[in-house]
């Protein structure tokens, strides 16, 4: 029984971190689908969101709801600003320059925040508190429930947005064929900005969820989180939204199970090994080809 309850709580842990990976992976996947850019700065947007939450709860003592909204708004704005300032001027240049720019922005955010707030981690007080659920001998924490529920809601909302709205249709059209979409009267700049806004808003939500489970913000927290979420996006099939969700959960579960087996130091290795195996066996990812709803 003890084994089963450990396994159960690890599965919940996996779902919780998997949810965060999935939200971040969605941002990677959307941006890649639309402008074929590996947006390395995406992980650092989460970092910025986390700092916003820290500032507003620990320094200004805002209500949690206010700081959550603030984090999402700031992340979204930041994502759009980055796109306008750094990526838009390079839209017609080789993809490598775009990639290097993304890396540069990521460096800039990390070092800028390190300069302003120092290299140390900032502890964020618990701001999502509520009752935890007991199932037999296992406990599901409130933050895990919130994380999983919020993620599912976000995904449902995003799917609706992409499938049913006009902007979603425009996004799908641009990712299908940028030139043809433009000829059909789709405003390219608006659509791309909107994609970045969506991805960054999800990153903002992810930063809140991250803080609710780990409670710390540091300038480099985004880079590893971003890389793993990126692996999740590739695993699911980069450019595919359901793939990114699935990939996030698979990576989260794999990490949790490796930890449960007592090999937690190999967590990162396993994640990247999954990446290599997927790329060698099926480079398009789990849902790359059959599901063509790219964004």
């Amino acid at each position: 029984m003890a084994f089963l309850s450990t396994l159960f709580s690890q599965v919940i842990n996996g779902l919780q971190s998997g949810s965060i990976y999935a939200l971040v992976a969605l941002g990677y996947s959307m941006v890649y689908g639309i402008i074929m850019l590996l947006n390395f700065a995406h992980g650092d947007i989460i970092m910025v969101g986390a700092y916003v939450v820290w500032m507003s709860t620990a320094n200004f003592g805002f209500h949690p709801i206010v700081s959550i909204l603030l984090a999402v708004v700031v992340s979204t704005t930041l994502g759009v600003v980055i796109e306008k300032v750094a990526y838009a001027p390079l839209r017609s240049s080789p993809r490598l320059s775009l990639l290097i720019t993304a890396i540069g922005i990521s460096f800039l955010l990390e070092n800028g925040f390190q300069l302003i707030f120092g290299a140390g981690a900032k502890v964020v007080p618990d701001f999502l508190t509520g009752p935890s659920v007991h199932l037999g001998s296992a406990t599901i924490s409130f933050s895990a429930i919130v994380t999983i529920v919020v993620t599912v809601l976000m995904m449902a909302g995003l799917t609706f947005l992409v499938q049913k709205t006009k902007l979603g249709k425009a996004m799908r059209a641009v990712s299908e064929d940028m030139g043809a979409a433009q000829l059909m009267g789709i405003n390219l700049n608006t659509t791309i900005s909107f994609t970045f806004a969506m991805g960054s808003a999800l990153a903002g939500v992810a930063s809140v969820l991250y803080l609710s489970s780990y409670g710390q913000a540091s300038p480099t927290m985004g880079s590893m989180l971003g890389l793993k979420a990126f692996v999740a996006a590739v695993l699911g099939g980069i450019g595919s939204l359901p793939g990114a969700m699935l990939g996030g959960f698979v990576i989260g579960m794999a990490e949790a199970l490796v930890s449960a087996a007592g090999l937690s130091v190999w967590k990162d290795g396993v994640v990247f090994a999954i990446l290599i195996i997927v790329l060698l066996v099926k480079p398009t990812g789990l849902m790359g080809k059959p599901m063509t709803e790219k964004v």
């Binding site: 993809r95 890396i103 922005i105 130091v265 990446l275 060698l280």
Partner: protein, 347 residues
């Protein structure tokens, strides 16, 4: 001058180049060993040399082959650990005279070969993919090398890499002279390979892989060859790095290190050896020069990177790279020192 299109015969060119290279090595060694240069400055020069080797080696895969590997630090790590473990095992610090130099040379070659073997092992599966996917898979391999170096001891029970606490007390074999020698040898070898039949095959793959293949070029063979060569020199640089620092931590060979090297190559101009050399020098020396503002230097560095990509995406040299070779041609002066040879890029 322009009417004089005659060129100096090849043996003569080789002779001139060799003499110039030897003179360059002698002069700079004498200069650095004289009292005019402080120890701090020599150390910076050594780091610059190591970074030059890393940049020109990555330039093979990025500039000449046209791929984008993001795991170059992994090969450097393999070389560094191979060299470090070998030097500790033979206890090179206690050796004297000829044996000492033999050990140093053996460590450098061995690191290169082991890194090269890793290059083949990783290159064969990875090079089946292209573009972004190749970038991602090499990133994965690079991270795995780091994780393995961190954890292998605790799993297999060796005392080999000493895990996260790092490999310490490596004999400090790196001197300005052997860094310089390695830089010159790497540049000369890479330049000569790129000017040969094999080099042209590699360039043709960059230009158009399908066309190259239909002309009978074994694309897989040449891609793996270029990748392995790139890994070999990264391994040599790693060994020099190990001998320079005297201790190694797996965490210093992470993804960010690969990016740093890539930035050097891209800022210098991809496919231009002179560009790689110059930007490796500038990007290593600049943070040192900005040390007074050390809080701001990483911010400035990343800002420069972004602004450069927006306003001058062709790299540090850009047009100038081309005009340099034209000036040389105009003067009909084939005397190019090895350190300043330009790659075969005419884009």
């Amino acid at each position: 001058m322009k009417t004089n299109r005659k060129t100096i015969p090849m043996p003569m060119r080789y002779l001139i180049n060799t003499v110039l290279i030897v003179l360059f090595i002698l002069a700079s060694t004498l200069f650095v060993n004289s009292d005019a240069v402080s120890g701090y400055f020599t150390k910076i020069l050594m780091v610059i040399g190591i970074n030059i080797i890393l940049a020109v080696s990555l330039n093979i895969a990025t500039g000449y082959l046209g791929q984008l590997p993001l795991g170059h630090a992994g090969f450097m790590a393999v070389g560094a650990y191979t060299g470090g473990i070998f030097l500790k095992a033979v206890d090179a610090a206690k050796a004297t005279g000829g044996t000492y130099y033999l050990y140093v040379a053996a460590a450098l070659v061995l690191s290169g070969i082991v890194a090269g073997i890793f290059g083949i092992l990783i290159g064969v599966p990875a090079l089946r993919l292209k573009g972004d996917y190749l970038a991602i898979i090499t990133l994965g391999f690079g991270e795995i090398i780091r994780v393995v170096l961190t954890n292998i001891d605790s799993v297999l029970g060796f005392d080999l890499t000493y895990g996260a606490s790092g490999l310490k007390r490596i004999p400090k074999i790196t001197t300005f002279f052997n860094v310089l020698l390695c830089v010159v040898l790497s540049c000369v070898v890479i330049h000569m390979v790129m000017k040969s039949r094999h080099g042209r095959a590699i360039l043709s793959i960059r230009e158009n892989e399908i066309a190259a293949e239909s002309c009978g070029i074994r694309t897989t063979y040449y891609k793996v060859m270029a990748f392995t060569m790139s890994a070999f020199f990264a391994g040599v640089a790693g060994c020099l790095y190990a001998g320079y620092l005297g201790s190694l931590q797996p965490s210093s060979f992470g993804f960010m290190k690969s990016i740093e090297i890539l930035v050097m190559v891209v800022l210098g101009g991809m496919g231009s050896m002179l560009g790689s050399i110059l930007s490796a020098t500038v990007l290593t020396a600049l943070p040192e020069a900005l040390r007074a503002f050390s809080d701001y230097r990483m911010v400035v560095y990343s800002l420069v990177l972004v602004l450069m990509m927006i306003f001058k995406p062709t790299g540090l040299l850009g047009q100038y790279d081309f005009s340099l070779s034209r000036i040389l041609e105009k003067l009909m002066n084939p005397k190019k020192s090895a350190g300043k040879k330009e790659g075969a890029s005419h884009e």
